[in-house]
């Protein structure tokens, strides 16, 4: 095809995309003259270019469009949805003609008289309505195309165009060779001009800062770079074996240059995400018109760039989700106003870069997902049982919309709800190594957050080994590496046959690479590695035998035969020439059975901001004699051990101890009449502090769940704090302090007599925490008074109470901790009392804010071990009546 024509096709396609967007904007803000003049100009340019290239049919449609836009501009025609729809139709027609030209290379025969006639009718109708005389003026804008007259005009135009073309060719042929032209009569040009000339030819052309390159060229280049990376890796591998030789330095250079080159080409493939968004305003607009809703689409970060391959893959999912939002999410005007929301619904698109990923957020302020309907649908479609769904959290139920065959559309419209719903969206996004998260609040709206990698072709990957086979894990998913062995601090434990790793303050679910891939279980070394990987909000560990280094690998698509498995995303060739599989962390996380867990994490995140009374906590559920479930806050449990019953020793007074890590650890049974087993395993919950440990003997560890802390407090029985509904079941919450004091009378470092009469004020709005901390204090021989918030605490001051230490939560109703601290420091009555903050938020910023407000010490609630430790230390200081300054220094 003529490359000028090709250029025209590309340019016009771009213009049309802009036109789509601008027209929709214009319909909303029809008074905005700049938008209109921009639209007019684009249409005008298309028409003008058609004239140059001899494309009468296209030119006629563009002209009709320009005609009506001109009337808008001159205020002769009112902007109506019908008129805008007609212009959009004209744009569609132009697009259609362009598509045909793209394949045939020539303008298709035929006429668009009907459309042009319709447009001109509307154009002149407006004119007639405003001023009948204006009909006469209309032709001044250019040739008119009336219904009957147009085909003739088109033919004429073709003839004229042809004639012009011939003339042009003739003229060119007659013209003398340009080189032989004598130096033009520009003699008076001063010498300075000539000096300027070379500079101008170098770089001064304004439009030369960017060039257009065929996509194939770039793709080909990318393939070559990939091969280059492989070859470089191969050389590096050889170099590693050879140690020092003269190739070392040039190889390093080669390596750097290859990386730079790769960066460069990757950047070349980048396109703004706005390219994938262009169609959306039009789609939303059409949907709004056809459903009678009012919808506004806002777009932020349209210039965020991502790999065009990735862009192609997310185009359809994005379109689908925006359609869903417009069709099902946003209510009609009446329903919105009834719900007290603005009549116009909003769909907000936002794209941004963060840590090697692109984030795309699609948020609507509609009615949110209908949980009841999802629940009904899930059961009707047999996706799960009623019993199973009864125990699920909202977040877990919402996840069902990503299951195949799920569609919530009440009435199947022509737009969405065709049953290819969100499962396809999720599959597409996951195929490119991305994740999608969903949050929905009834009546407030739905938000999707998509996270995708910047590029697909070359990724950084960690090479690991399981059963003497090597695998690559995308570095993007790797959070940290943990070496585990039976001797080390980090050990693999088992809960309910599932392996877990206690990592800092949390239990991490594990999946064994050998197990999941069904590799032969050869000699099993106890020294292994756990790769802590993250997929979306879900963190889990992968057990591998060995870990090598990180390599830049070239992702080759997975062979069709293996496409059915969910554990691989592709394969690659390593520097030493071996071919290895690239693992799919997504698939592995599913194998770990962690989807529910992930949802809880996500829920955790959202509810952390939700505030008091809504706090999530992890509980360890266990059983003792009798079948009642007991729960204990997981933060308090240091370790879960299955001890050989034979190793338990009976000492005097019905007490039991066990050799544990070179120490004797006292064991306390949960039930006083606990029957100690003679053989088999005894489940022990280990609590540790200050190098001392104590074990609580239980019958069976059942599960670990996260749930809200909704505890009904009662002290019906020693050793129990009260009861709560956890995971839908009523359970007793265990008072750990009770058992701690049973094991060690001096657990909290109580040199009793020293400060027996000291008095502490504990301010916290959570009864749970008050009841958790108060026993710790009393067991350390403090007298404790509690207050539910800052205001209540200050009332105690007014009443003339005096305290030796005040321990306060930060987030509280009425008067929060920070305000309480400033109030205390301002008044001479309490301003000498040591003040300790106890908060679930202990980031640097929080701590600083706390210190500024007047707190001497800032402790995190989440870290139970350190909490008791710090509390004990601070209390010791406070108990000795240390001044605030000393306390400050001590921290």
């Amino acid at each position: 095809m003529d490359d000028l024509l090709q250029e025209f096709l590309a340019e016009t396609a771009e213009s049309l995309a802009v036109l789509d967007v601008e027209l929709v904007r214009f319909e909303r803000e029809s008074s905005d003259a700049t938008i209109l003049s921009n639209i007019f100009r684009l249409m005008h340019t298309i028409k003008g270019t058609c004239g140059f290239l001899g494309l009468p049919r296209l030119g006629a449609v563009a002209h009709a469009g320009e005609n009506i836009l001109g009337k808008f501009r001159d205020g002769e025609l009112e902007v109506t949805p019908r008129a805008v729809t007609l212009i959009l139709k004209a744009i569609d027609q132009i697009r259609l003609l362009l598509a045909e030209m793209e394949t045939t290379g020539t303008e298709p025969a035929g006429s668009d008289a009907e459309l042009v006639g319709e447009i001109n009718d509307v154009a002149s109708a407006g004119t007639v309505a405003s001023a009948p005389v204006a009909v006469e003026d209309a032709p001044a804008c250019g040739p008119t195309f009336s219904d009957e007259g147009f085909p003739v005009a088109a033919e004429l135009l073709v003839e004229v165009a042809h004639a012009l073309k011939h003339e042009a060719v003739d003229a060119a042929a007659e013209a003398p060779a340009p080189q032989s032209l004598p130096e033009p009569a520009k003699a008076p040009a001063p010498a300075a001009r000539t000096a300027d000339a070379p500079r101008e030819s170098e770089s001064k052309e304004p439009s030369s800062s960017s060039i257009r390159v065929n996509v194939d060229v770039i793709e080909n280049l990318m393939t070559l770079i990939s091969e280059l990376v492989l070859t470089r890796n191969q050389l590096l591998q050889m170099q590693r074996v050879q140690k020092d030789n003269e190739f070392k330095v040039p190889l390093q250079r080669l390596s750097h240059i290859t990386s730079d080159l790769q960066d460069g080409v990757t950047r070349m493939r980048m396109q703004p995400i706005g390219n994938a968004w262009n169609k959306l305003p039009r789609i939303v607009r059409d949907l709004a018109v056809s459903t009678g809703k009012k919808i506004e689409l806002t777009m932020q970060g349209a210039d965020t760039e991502l790999d065009r391959q990735v862009l192609e893959m997310i185009k359809d999912p994005l379109t689908h989700m925006v359609r869903n939002s417009a069709d099902h999410g946003i209510e009609d005007g009446i329903a919105r106003m009834a719900a007290g929301k603005p009549e116009t619904g909003t769909i907000a698109l936002n794209a941004y870069h963060e840590s090697g990923h692109i984030f795309i957020r699609i948020a609507d302020d509609g009615k949110g997902l209908d949980l009841e309907r999802i629940r009904a649908k899930v059961i009707a479609n047999g996706l799960t049982t009623e019993a199973a769904i009864a125990g699920m959290s909202e977040q877990q139920i919402l996840q069902f919309i990503f299951r195949p065959g799920f569609s919530t559309a009440e009435k199947v419209t022509s737009v969405s709800g065709r049953g290819v719903g969100m499962d396809v969206v999720r599959t597409n996004i996951e195929r490119i190594g991305g994740t999608i998260e969903l949050t929905s609040v009834a009546g407030k709206g739905t938000t999707f957050l998509i996270k995708i990698p910047l590029t697909l072709a070359i990724v950084s990957a960690l090479i690991v080994e399981a059963n003497s086979q090597r695998f690559a894990i995308p570095q993007l998913n790797v959070v940290e590496l943990v070496g585990v062995s039976d001797r080390s601090e980090a050990r693999i434990e088992t809960i309910n046959t599932s392996p877990v790793l206690r990592l800092r303050d949390r239990l991490l679910p594990l999946v064994s690479l050998r197990g999941v891939l069904g590799l032969e279980r050869g000699s099993k070394s106890t020294d292994r590695f756990v790769i802590v990987a993250q997929v979306g909000a879900n963190t889990f560990g992968i057990i591998v035998d060995r870990v090598f280094d990180t390599e830049e690998i070239v992702v080759k698509p997975v062979a069709p035969l293996l496409r059915g498995t969910r554990f691989y995303v592709g394969n690659t060739i390593l520097g030493d020439g071996s071919v290895i599989m690239i693992l799919d962390p997504n698939g592995l996380s599913q194998a770990a059975g962690q989807i529910e867990h992930a949802d809880q994490e996500a829920q955790d995140k959202t509810s952390r901001t939700a505030g008091q009374g809504n706090e999530l906590a992890s509980f360890l559920l266990f059983r003792t004699a009798g079948s009642e479930l007991k729960a204990i806050p997981l933060e308090l449990v240091a370790r879960i051990e299955g001890l050989n019953a034979a190793t338990i020793e009976h000492v005097g007074g019905g007490r039991h101890v066990v050799q544990y890590r070179d120490h004797l650890m006292p064991l306390v049974p949960f039930d006083a009449d606990h029957r100690w087993q003679e053989t088999g395993l005894q489940e022990i919950l280990v609590f540790s502090d200050n190098g001392r440990s104590m074990g609580l003997a239980v019958d069976e560890v059942v599960d670990i769940v996260r749930d809200r802390m909704a505890i009904e407090l009662s002290s019906a029985r020693a050793g129990l704090l009260g009861s709560a509904i956890i995971a839908g079941k009523a359970v007793d919450i265990v008072d750990v302090g009770h058992f701690l004091t049973q094991a060690f009378a001096d657990w909290f470092d109580t040199s009793v007599a020293q400060y027996a009469t000291r008095h502490a004020l504990l301010v916290d709005d959570s009864p749970f925490f008050r009841n958790l901390v108060a026993p710790l204090l009393t067991s350390a021989n403090w007298k404790v008074t509690t207050a539910a918030d800052g205001a209540e605490a200050l009332k105690l001051r007014e009443a003339g109470h005096q305290f030796d230490v005040i321990i306060s939560d930060i987030e509280m109703p009425n008067l929060d901790g920070l305000a309480l601290a400033s109030a205390i420091r301002k008044d001479p009555r309490w301003n000498k009392v040591p003040l300790i903050a106890l908060s679930s938020h202990a980031e640097d910023g929080d701590v600083n804010a706390g210190r500024e407000a007047g707190f001497d010490e800032y402790l995190a609630k989440s870290d139970q071990t350190r909490l008791t430790e710090n509390l004990a230390r601070v209390l010791r200081l406070a108990g000795r009546g240390e001044s605030n300054d000393n306390l400050r220094r001590a921290s």
Binding site: L4, E7, F8, E11, N38, F40, R41, H44, T45, K47, G48, T49, G51, F52, L53, A140, G142, L164, K165, E167, A168, A171, A172, E174, A175, P176, P178, Q179, L181, P182, E183, P184, A185, K186, P188, A189, P190, R193, T194, D196, A197, R199, E200, S201, K204, E205, P206, S207, S208
Partner: protein, 125 residues
């Protein structure tokens, strides 16, 4: 050195066509996408002639023309306004703003050659 012609048009296609024609007539060419770019260009390099479109984003042709004339460039470049806007008022507006010639789109090599010859930039064969 053959004369330098600055082509100002927002359409790549039209810029290329014009450049092809001008080059075949022995001129050197430079391109600008809109009036603003054209003004920027002329600050550094004064062309012998500017082929100036009317409807453009950022800065339209007539504004660009006024600015170019206000810059009092030396030597004074010829400006050929080149657009589909017809009618005497438009032509008069352009000439008053300092245009030397006026050319209707679509033009071809013959028409352009005529204009260039009239301005003395090329000699008719």
């Amino acid at each position: 050195m053959s004369p330098l012609c600055l082509i100002v048009d927002d359409s790549r296609v039209i810029r290329r066509m014009a450049a092809d024609i001008l080059k075949s007539l022995g001129l050197r060419t430079a391109e600008a996408e809109n009036g603003l770019q054209a003004v920027e260009f002329c600050r550094d390099t004064v062309p012998d002639m500017v082929l100036l479109d009317w409807n453009m984003p950022e800065m339209d042709g007539i504004t660009c023309l006024r600015q170019l004339r206000a810059m009092n460039l030396e030597p004074r470049p010829f400006v050929v306004m080149c657009t589909t806007e017809s009618g005497m008022p438009k032509i008069c507006e352009a000439l008053e703003a300092g245009a030397d010639e006026y050319i209707m789109k679509p033009y071809d090599q013959g028409v352009l050659l005529d204009k260039l010859a009239q301005l003395g930039l090329v000699e008719r064969a």
